[in-house]
Amino acid sequence: MSRRGEDPKALPRDGRDLTGDALHERLSLTWHTSPGFWGWLTTVDHKLVGRRYIFTALVFLILGGILALIMRVQLARPESGLISADRYNQIFSMHGTTMMFLFAVPVMEAMAVYIIPLMLGTRNIAFPRLNAFSYWVFLFGGIMIWVAFLFNVGPEAGWFSYVPLAGPEYSPGKRTDFWAQMITFTEVAALATSVELVATIMKQRAPGMSLNRVPLFAWGVLVTSLMVIFAMPAVMLSSSFLIADRLVGTQFYNPTEGGDALLWQHLFWFFGHPEVYIIFIPALGFVSQITETFSRRPIFGYPVMVLALVSIGILAFGLWVHHMFATGLPRLGYSFYTAASMMIALPSGVQIFCWIATMWAGRPRFTVPMLWVIGFIITFVIGGLTGVMVASVPLDLQLHDTYFVVAHFHYVLIGGAVFPLLGAITFWFPKFTGRMMDETLGKLSFAIGFIGFHLTFFPMHFTGLMGMPRRVYTYPSDIGWNMLNMISSIGAFIFASALLLFMINALVSYRKGLLSGSNPWEASSLEWAVPSPPPPYNFAHIPVVEGRTPLWDAGGTLSVVSGLRVEDRELLLTTAIDAEPDVREPSPLPTIWPLLAAIAVTALFIGSIFNPWAIVWGAIPLAATLTVWFWPKGPPEAEPVIE
């Protein structure tokens, strides 16, 4: 390796003289992750971290789904004695917690971690060690809450843990403490990933990819990451107040000592409402990429689409109080939040019309990803309409906390995010693995899934209108809810079997699927310019972008820049707006320290549930691991050194 004192000009770089196989060999050596267990623990490759992030989030989807099925078995018949009320409380709390905090947000960020650097034409994500750290913290937080649940100390006050129910008086023991610390784990992970993604999108785009050429998925991820940055501190603050009330006797939420239960609701929903869009906006990005590819034409109304994403991101922060209509608000508050809630339907509607226009003007191919997109449009429009309904205060007061709301948010979350996700996994599966998912099985799982979903959740609108409240562990047999509940339960199993089929398809295709080549769908964005799966360094030469659909514009020859070093990990930074080449930036090597720091964080968080002083003592190993993590190893870099 070249080091201090050598002439930087003599360092080997990619270019005309170093390209093809020779370049591949040298870059692979520089960027590879060591094989075996040690390599697995230390990798900072965004593709490996992204893949395991997606996989882990899907495991939590299965776990959360199993809980849903258990609830549907319990509710299939009236007065069922299968599950006790206390167990049921834990199950629905864990179902919501798992789906929101351990599946939905992480899986969207995980997809971005894998796809974004490839889509932007760079060699790794910004702050890749932080990325590895984020994964470990997420994993340990998820394991913690599930182990607690299995030991009967799972959360019991619902996924939004309202006080006073979740406070020290009504939720004694450690159950809610584990929930509050799970929040801290997952939010630390999500915040870290968001900072990486913002930095990557703003600074690591391929030359020429000015902001008006950024793919819509990347725009979506940028908006989402900024939303995470502004929304998640609210839930960290509120859950820290909660655990402090429970463990060290603070009085934030205690009305007898000047605290206020509504403070919890405000802080929680200031996070909780944007959270829905944090899950939904990346899905909009999936839909745009898929629609563009399979309509075989550039997306219709690109500037309007970008503006719609940004305005959804902003409006999402003005809606939180619509979760609190039933708490009693000033009249002006009602009107304001009703208006804001209805307003957000506008940019969502604009997007839907743009996708329809894209399909209309294109030559659509109805592949599996496209089918999921169509399923999404139908389902999401229904969910959006019930959303506009409950935005109206009188109706909301009637329907609040009933199964109508359960139906509404499953339509927007499953229809709005999980359908596009399944389409996106099918779409990018060849990039992840080098193989195609089976088309017939894919279509079958779409058909079964679409029917099963609507069979489960459509009847809930009526169960809700008939007055069935959420979160009841059973109901009497003589009030007319029996049939609707039975249909929902049957539908749930049908929907689950479609998901199972999807996963079997993924597993089988991973081993035996057709080899895909680099661009099986003839898509337009840069990730399809590299082999499937991509080599550790992603791009041998950094591509140059000349339009919004680079591979369609390239005409068979890709323009590239050269001159990055090959013996050290080097990325290209470009300017934030115009993406002009600006700086050659070193990228970190694999290391064990993010994992050790995550273990230190885990010890601190779990310790603090049992003893507040753990925050103080736990900070010492944490500071030590972080210091070693940041401390440069090996001799100084070859360039530039100021003597």
Binding site: T250, V583, E637
Partner: protein
């Protein structure tokens, strides 16, 4: 690459580090400043939310003693002078001055931590007495966490500057961004100081209630 390529431009002349918005570090630091700034803003909002529920503010307590918080503010503002200087030295890549500046910044935090101890001791209320006490402690604790993390950060960076890695361009970028973060710690103290020490003084005597 699976497509044939056409070389357009050789980038080997580009620098390998740069300051401010041109560096990745700046974006990372600003990202975390936004996160923590949002945290501060929401904690302040929680303070006023709790205040709006009360007839008297501060409820059953005297306002925190003014002296220590004000001294902290003064020292904090003064500490930004060497901070500006070391940031400039780093951006001009003057190794010796950067070393001196980082040592000064490492020392400057010590009196601040001592003053902070006096602040906690003179809040005139426990965190468990009532919600006012809780939010007061929360605000001060939040800011103290930043003081501590930036101190550790500065110590590590100062030590690093005296090793063979001190001359690397990236260390100057780190120092510059560390200076940016200290600005944030200083600036965020101003609204927190007003809320902790002056809002209770403006409201006693019946301004609310």
């Amino acid at each position: 690459m699976t497509l044939p390529v056409r070389f357009t431009r050789d980038l080997s002349e580009l620098p390998t580090h740069a300051f401010g918005t041109r560096s990745l570090t700046w974006w990372g630091v600003v990202g975390f400043m936004l996160i923590e700034g949002t945290g501060f803003a929401l904690a302040i909002a929680a303070y006023f939310f709790l205040m709006s529920q009360e007839q008297l503010w501060p409820p059953s307590a005297l306002p925190p003693k003014l002296l220590w918080g004000t001294l902290t503010l003064a020292v904090m503002l003064l500490s930004d002078i060497p901070n500006v200087w070391v940031k400039k030295a780093a951006e001009e890549e003057r190794l010796r001055d950067t070393r001196i500046g980082l040592v000064i910044m490492s020392i400057v935090v010590i009196p601040l931590l001592v003053l902070r101890g006096f602040e906690f001791a003179n809040l005139n209320i426990g965190w468990d007495r009532n919600a006012y006490g809780s939010i007061l402690w929360a605000l001060l604790l939040l800011h103290t966490t930043h003081l501590l993390t930036d101190w550790v950060d500065t110590l590590v960076l100062a030590a690093l500057m005296f090793t063979e890695h001190g001359g690397e361009g990236r260390r100057f970028v780190d120092t510059s961004e560390n200076g940016l973060y200290w600005h944030f710690v200083v600036l965020s103290w101003i609204p927190l100081y007003v809320v902790i020490y002056w809002v209770p003084r403006m409201t006693t005597g019946g301004l609310i209630g």
